[in-house]
Amino acid sequence: MSEPVRQTITVKNENGLHLVPCSLITRAATGFACQVEIHSATRKADAKNIFDLMGLGAACGTELTLIANGDGAADAIQKLVELFESGLEASSRRPNS
C-alpha cells in the first residue's frame, strides 16, 4: 500500500464551498478509485459525498487539506487542486440563442 497523498489549498471562490462548487468536487472525486478526504481545521468530509462537503461550511479563505489514499491518489489530488485553482464555478458560457 502506498502512502496517502496530501496537499493543502485555500478556498478562493467568493461564496465558499456552496452547492455548485461542492457538486463539482464530488463529480471529480467520484471519477477516481481512491478514497479522497477533505479536512478543515475542525471537520473532515468524504469528497465523494456532496452533503459531507457542504457540511464543512468552508468559507472563502478557509485552508483545507486534501488527502487521497489508494489507486490514482496523486492524479486525484492534482485534478482537485486544478479545480480549486480555477475557482470552482460552473462555466458561465451563455446558451446560443
Binding site: G16, I50, F51, A90, P95
Partner: protein, 584 residues
C-alpha cells in the same frame, strides 16, 4: 360551519373547494408502515426518487438551454444530492429498521441536513438549506402522487389554505385557477400580502392555526373585505356570499366596458388617470383597465424581495419591463423610498433606528446618504428611459437644497454614462413628490426647478396632522378631508399652474371616489390611483362637470371641520354618481 378571523390584505370574495398546504406545503399522511410492507415501501421510495431525478434532469436541460450553464449547474448539484448514496442509505435504514413511512423518513433526513447547513454560521451557506427543503418537497411530491399538483399547474378552481406561502409561491399562483387564499401566519406588510394585492386575489393572512379544522375539498369562503374565512358554510351564509360575489362580478363587468372610454368630464375636460404600481406585472392590470400611464412606480420591492442589494441590471431589467409594457404612455419612476415602515431585513444599517423613523433617515435622505446605492438606481432609470417616456421622481423632498443635491447626483450619473459611452436618455423629466408640508408651503419656490409635482397625500396628511394612521389609538384623527390638507393641495396646484408644470395626486386620496370631485375642482388634471380603482375613477369623472366640481371645491374650502368636509363630499358624490358601489 366554522368562522376564523385574520388580517384582510386583499379585497374581494372567493368561494371554492379548499386545497391544503401544511407547514412545508405537505401533510405527511402516516408516520409508520407495517413490517411486511417495508420492502414494497422501499420500492415505492426508489421509484419516487427516480421520478425526482428525472424531473431535475429535465430542469437542468431546460436551464442550460435557456439560462446558461451556471444556472444548470444548480440542478446538477441537486441531482448529485438526490443520488447521494449516503443519503439514500440513511433514509432506507430508517424505513427498514424503524418502519418509518418513506415520507416521514425522507422528511426527517432532509431536514436534519438542512438544519446542519443552517447551523454552519455562514449566511450564504446557510441559505443552501433552502435547496435541501426544495428537494424534500420534490421527494414528498413524488411519493404522495399526482393528487397534490403544483400551485402553478392546477386543473380546477380552488381556494388555497396554507400555513404560509412564500412570495415566489404567491407570485406563481395561477390566477385562472386560484380564487383566493388564507394563511395561518403573515402580516399586513409581508411580501405575500403585498403580492396578493398586486395579483388581486382575495386574501386573508395571520389567521392562526386552522388547517387542522379543514379537509381538502371542503367548501371555504374567503372574505377579503372583512378578513374572515368560513369553513363549510351553511346554506344561508353560502347564498349570502354568492350574492356578494355576483354583485362584485357584475360591477367589475360594467366598469370593464368603460376601459376604452376616456376620462373626460361632461364639459370636455380631459383628466389623466394613471396607475400606481409596485411590481412590473401590475402594468398589465393598469393597461387593461385603460390607464393613461403609470403615475407612480414604487421601486422598493426590488430591495425587499431578496437578501441581496439589487444590482444595476436587476433595476434595469425591472424598469425595462415596465417601460416597454407601457408603450408611449408615461412611466413615473419614484426613486428609493425605503425607511420608516419599509426596511429590508438585511439593510437595517442604512436606516436610522431612532424612536421616530418617519422623521428619520428615510427615502431621499437615505439615498443622498448612500450615494453608491442611489447612483446605481439612477443609472438604471436613465438607461431604461431610452425605451419610452420615463420620468424620474424624488420622494420626500423637504428643502430646495435637498432637491438641488439630488439633481446634481443625477447630472453626475449622466456624465458618467456619457463618458462610458452607455446609451441613456438625457432629457428625462424630473419631478418631486410633495408630501412634506414644508414643500407644499414653498411649492412656488420649488416649481421653477422641477418638471412636475406629485402630491403624496398619505405622508402629507401624516406630517400635517401629526397622526400615524397605523396607530389604532389615533387613527380616528386621520382625515384626508381636513381643511389644512385642502388648503395645502390648493397651494401646490396654484404653484404648478403659475409655473406651467403639471400636478398629480398619487396618494390613497385620489383612489377614493368621494375626493374626486374635490380634486378636479381644485384644478387637478392628473390622478394616479391603485389599479383596481381605475375604471371607477374614470367612470365617475365621466359623470362630473368641471364647473360643478369647482363649486364643490369652493364650498368644501369654506367648511372648518374635517368631518363636515368629508360628509359633504360623500353626499355630493352619492348625488352625482349613485351607481358607485365597489369601493364604498
Amino acid at each position: 360551519m366554522k368562522t376564523k378571523s385574520g388580517i384582510p390584505v386583499s379585497p374581494g370574495v372567493a368561494i371554492g373547494p379548499a386545497m391544503l398546504f401544511g407547514a412545508r406545503g405537505f401533510r405527511i399522511p402516516q408516520r409508520f408502515v407495517s413490517v411486511d410492507a417495508v420492502e414494497s415501501e422501499i420500492g415505492r421510495f426508489r421509484g419516487a426518487l427516480h421520478k425526482v431525478a428525472q424531473a431535475i434532469e429535465e430542469n437542468q436541460h431546460v436551464a442550460s438551454q435557456r439560462l446558461g450553464e451556471e444556472y444548470a449547474a444548480i440542478f446538477g448539484a441537486h441531482l448529485l444530492m438526490v443520488r447521494d448514496p449516503k443519503l439514500l442509505g440513511e433514509i432506507e435504514t430508517l424505513i427498514r429498521s424503524k418502519c418509518f413511512s418513506p415520507e416521514f423518513a425522507a422528511s426527517r433526513v432532509f431536514r436534519n441536513y438542512a438544519k446542519a447547513f443552517q447551523n454552519l454560521g455562514n449566511a450564504y451557506l446557510a441559505e443552501r438549506a433552502t435547496d435541501v427543503f426544495d428537494l424534500e418537497k420534490r421527494v414528498l411530491h413524488a411519493l404522495l402522487g399526482e393528487d397534490r399538483p403544483e400551485l402553478t399547474h392546477l386543473t380546477e378552481s380552488v381556494v388555497i389554505l396554507a400555513h404560509n406561502l412564500t412570495p415566489s409561491e404567491t407570485a406563481g399562483l395561477d390566477r385562472e385557477k386560484v380564487l383566493g387564499f388564507a394563511t395561518e401566519v403573515g402580516g399586513r406588510t409581508s411580501h405575500t400580502a403585498i403580492l396578493a394585492g398586486a395579483l388581486e386575489l382575495p386574501a386573508v393572512v395571520g389567521v392562526g392555526g386552522f388547517l387542522a379544522d379543514v379537509s381538502a375539498g371542503d367548501i371555504v369562503i374567503i372574505d377579503g373585505y372583512r378578513g374572515e374565512i368560513i369553513i363549510d358554510p351553511d346554506e344561508e351564509t353560502l347564498s349570502r356570499y354568492k350574492l356578494v360575489l355576483e354583485q362584485y362580478k357584475s360591477d367589475k363587468q360594467r366598469l370593464a366596458k368603460l376601459t376604452s372610454a376616456e376620462a373626460i368630464t361632461t364639459d370636455s375636460v380631459r383628466i389623466q388617470v394613471l396607475g400606481n404600481i409596485e411590481f412590473p406585472q401590475e402594468v398589465e392590470h393598469c393597461m387593461e383597465r385603460g390607464a393613461d400611464g403609470i403615475g407612480l412606480y414604487r421601486t422598493e420591492f426590488l430591495y425587499l424581495g431578496t437578501n441581496q442589494i439589487p444590482s444595476e441590471e436587476d433595476h434595469y431589467e425591472a424598469y425595462c419591463k415596465v417601460v416597454k409594457a407601457c408603450g408611449n404612455h408615461p412611466v413615473v419612476i419614484r426613486t428609493l423610498d425605503l425607511g420608516s415602515d419599509k426596511v429590508p431585513a438585511n439593510e437595517t444599517e442604512f436606516v436610522s433606528s431612532c424612536d421616530n423613523p418617519a422623521l428619520g433617515l428615510r427615502s431621499i435622505r437615505l439615498s443622498l446618504n448612500n450615494l453608491p446605492l442611489f447612483k446605481v438606481q439612477l443609472r438604471a432609470i436613465l438607461r431604461a428611459a431610452v425605451y419610452g417616456d420615463v420620468r424620474i421622481m424624488f420622494p420626500l423632498i423637504t428643502s430646495l437644497l435637498e432637491l438641488r443635491k439630488a439633481k446634481m447626483v443625477l447630472n453626475d450619473v449622466m456624465d458618467d454614462l456619457d463618458e462610458a459611452g452607455i446609451p441613456f436618455k438625457r432629457d428625462v423629466r424630473v419631478g418631486m413628490m410633495v408630501e412634506v408640508p414644508a414643500a407644499a408651503l414653498l411649492a412656488d419656490q420649488f416649481a421653477p426647478e422641477v418638471d412636475f409635482f406629485s402630491i403624496g397625500t398619505n405622508d402629507l396628511i401624516q406630517y400635517t396632522l401629526a397622526v400615524d394612521r397605523a396607530d389604532p389609538s389615533v387613527a380616528n384623527l386621520y382625515w384626508a378631508g381636513d381643511p389644512s390638507i385642502l388648503r395645502l393641495i390648493r397651494m401646490v396646484v396654484d404653484a404648478g399652474r403659475t409655473h406651467g408644470i403639471p400636478v398629480t395626486v398619487c396618494g390613497q386620496m385620489s383612489s377614493e371616489p368621494r375626493f374626486i370631485p374635490l380634486l378636479v375642482g381644485l384644478g387637478l388634471r392628473h390622478l394616479s390611483v391603485t389599479p383596481i380603482a381605475i375604471p371607477e375613477v374614470k367612470d365617475l369623472i365621466r359623470h362630473l362637470s368641471s364647473s360643478q366640481s369647482e363649486e364643490i371645491a369652493r364650498h368644501a374650502l369654506t367648511l372648518d371641520i374635517a368631518r363636515d368636509v368629508e360628509n359633504y363630499l360623500r353626499g355630493e358624490v352619492d348625488r352625482i354618481y349613485p351607481d358607485g358601489s365597489i369601493a364604498e
